[in-house]
């Protein structure tokens, strides 16, 4: 009887313990959304949802007429996202095609971890190199006075997102059934034709997931845009204009605002907006990845 009781405890204690850990993890993750909402909701009430999202002026510290529109900040984020993605995607996909279809197993074993290492470059380091080398180069190349602009930031953000995009594309390509490739090669198609007409289309949903997750990574990038995007609140009209994306605004301003003030609340509202954007992007990617696994099996 005593023995049975011991077993009961020793079996159920770990279950409870790990269950509690899992619950705590999920709880802490869910509470991010709740705390952002609680801290930021006041801004929507006071400023008004349409004024907040569609207002072009963001000037919370103005004494006479503070302005609370984040549209210019969102456009800054959008410009950098589109530009960085259009640099990182072809580049990342090429790397993925090489790793999964062309490289010998030995080269693959060397290259894969090295590409993965790019993700360990701290973004502050990329930003610093941008200040020191890339911005002066861009300024000289386009003959403009200041190289701190959307283009410079996009190039560096593309580097930061490259390992994410390359490794997810690689997963998607590698998970295409070997039978598809063999069938194509047996029909006389060349290796390139097989990659182009069979492997890439079959990996389609996974590749779109890679785009989505890469995009999420790009939108959230903070230090690079804080350091080299030029930090201007004016509405951008060209790729060589300085911009201030949403993430940079939060990082610059949050230290200097009074806790609980309207400015504080509206920065949390910007954070909440970022959270929702990345959440939707990740959710879409998730649906696509889930679809991918039902492919070719």
């Amino acid at each position: 009887m005593v023995f049975k009781k011991d077993i009961y405890f020793s079996e159920n204690l770990p279950r409870l313990m790990f269950g509690a850990m899992a619950a705590l993890t999920v709880f802490s993750l869910v509470s991010i959304f709740i705390f952002l909402l609680i801290s930021g909701i006041g801004a929507f009430e006071e400023i008004g949802v349409s004024e907040f999202f569609l207002g072009i002026d963001w000037n919370p510290t103005s004494f006479y007429t503070p302005a609370w529109g984040i549209f210019s900040l969102m456009v800054g984020t959008a410009i950098i996202s589109v530009l960085a993605l259009s640099i990182a995607l072809p580049f990342g996909l090429s790397i993925a095609v090489y790793l999964s279809e062309i490289a010998s197993p030995k080269m693959r074993e060397i290259f894969k971890p090295l590409i993965e290492m790019i993700a360990s470059i701290p973004s502050v380091v990329l930003g610093f190199l941008g200040l020191l080398f890339l911005a002066p180069f861009i300024a000289k190349f386009f003959n403009i006075s200041n190289g701190l602009n959307a283009l410079t930031a996009s190039i560096l953000v593309a580097v930061a997102a490259l390992p994410t995009i390359a490794s997810i594309c690689e997963d998607a390509l590698s998970s295409v059934s070997v039978r598809f490739k063999e069938a194509s090669l047996a029909l006389g198609a060349t290796k390139w034709t097989t990659i182009k007409k069979v492997v890439i289309p079959a990996a389609g949903p996974g590749l779109i997931a890679a785009i989505m997750l890469g995009l999420g990574r790009i939108i959230g990038e903070t230090m690079i845009v804080l350091m080299v995007a030029g930090n201007s609140r004016a509405f951008p009209t060209s790729l060589l204009d300085p911009v201030r994306p949403m993430t940079a605004s939060i990082a610059i301003e949050i230290k200097e605002v009074v806790v609980g003030s309207l400015h504080w609340q509206s920065l949390f509202a910007v954070g909440l907006t970022l959270f929702i954007i990345t959440f939707v992007i990740n959710l879409l990617a998730d649906v696509l990845v889930y679809k991918k696994y039902s492919y070719g099996n």
Binding site: I7, S10, R15, M17, F18, M21, A22, T25, V26, S28, L29, V30, S31, I32, L36, F91, S94, Y98, A103, E109, F111, P113, L114, E116, M117, I118, A119, S120, I121, P122, S123, V124, V125, L126, F128, L129, L132, F133, V159, L162, T190, W192, G216, I219, G220, T222, M223, L226, M227, T247, I250, A251, I254, K255, L267, F268, L274, T278, N282, L283
Partner: protein, 285 residues
């Protein structure tokens, strides 16, 4: 036609190979570009003495190195057990497919939350709500929450890679569920959990945006003695020297600090990658 096709194939394949080489070149270019302006400031004195605010050429970055190491250890102490425990629950205990899916969805989505948003979360919860102030502890907790999804993902993969046969054999021999997990499943998965975790820690150490918000400072006369003290950290130190310092030497000191930071994160990730490689080669299943 045939030669035309194979010529095109050759060109494309060179292009793909080329982009892989460029990708790797980025790593070396970053190191070289940091080394050029930064190597001249790195010496024993720079690494082991404390920061001098008045004359940056006199001081070192010892406090920032120690701050980053404290941060890394703190994050490891919290996120490793929580992350691995959660992964064990997902793979070994949770039978309800629906909840499992919900937990996984939450984890994957939260891995995509921008780091600056984690900073805001830390500010609202740890700094203000729990009144921990801008401190080492707030930063450790914030970065721990941020690294959790990465560690859970790596650990779950590692636990799932343990063959089902192992579990069935152990149970068939009369071991209980917990004994099977403790003696069979966990030891087999442990190296994978740890290497995934170390890569997570390396990334967390390079994060700057969250610690700007919840606790790092640029100048402290002494090392933190309690978890509630403010602290210096390498990425923040790099950031301030790179952007807000007026000294003409600031950029070479920023480069020196960045070089120390990147050596730390590269050593950790590279070490973990080598460990993972060795362990995969040795494992006989």
């Amino acid at each position: 036609m045939a030669t035309n096709g194979s010529l095109r194939e050759t060109i494309y394949f060179y292009m793909f190979r080329g982009s892989a080489f460029i990708g790797i070149a980025i790593l070396f270019i970053v190191l070289i570009l940091l080394f050029l302006p930064g190597h001249s400031v790195i010496n024993w004195h720079f690494l082991t003495s404390s920061w001098q605010h008045r004359d940056i050429t006199q001081g070192g970055i010892f406090s920032a190195i120690i701050g980053s190491i404290y941060l890394g250890i703190g994050v490891m102490l919290i996120s490793f057990p929580l992350g691995i425990g959660t992964a064990i629950f997902i793979t070994e205990y949770s039978k309800n497919i629906f909840w499992k899916k919900i937990i996984r969805l939450a984890i994957r989505n939260l891995a995509g939350v921008p780091s600056v948003v984690y900073g805001l979360f830390g500010l609202a919860v740890f700094v203000n709500f729990l009144s921990l102030g801008t401190s080492l502890l707030s930063a450790v907790l914030t970065l721990s929450v941020m690294t959790l999804p990465w560690i859970i993902t790596a650990s779950t993969e590692s636990l799932e890679a343990v063959p089902q046969k192992f579990r069935e054999t152990s149970l068939a021999l009369g071991a209980t569920h917990w004994q099977t997990i403790k003696k069979i499943v966990f030891p087999a998965a442990f190296p994978g959990c740890v290497t995934g975790g170390i890569i997570g820690i390396a990334r967390a150490l390079g994060e700057t945006a969250p610690i700007i918000i919840v606790g790092a400072t640029f100048y402290l006369s002494s090392l933190p003695t309690s978890p509630l003290d403010k602290f210096m950290a390498l990425p923040y130190h790099t950031f301030i020297l790179a952007t807000q310092h007026s000294s003409p030497y600031a950029s070479s000191y920023a480069a020196g600090t960045a070089l120390v930071l990147i050596s730390l994160t590269f050593l950790l990730s590279f070490g973990a990658i080598i460990m993972r490689y060795n362990y995969r080669r040795k494992k006989d299943w």
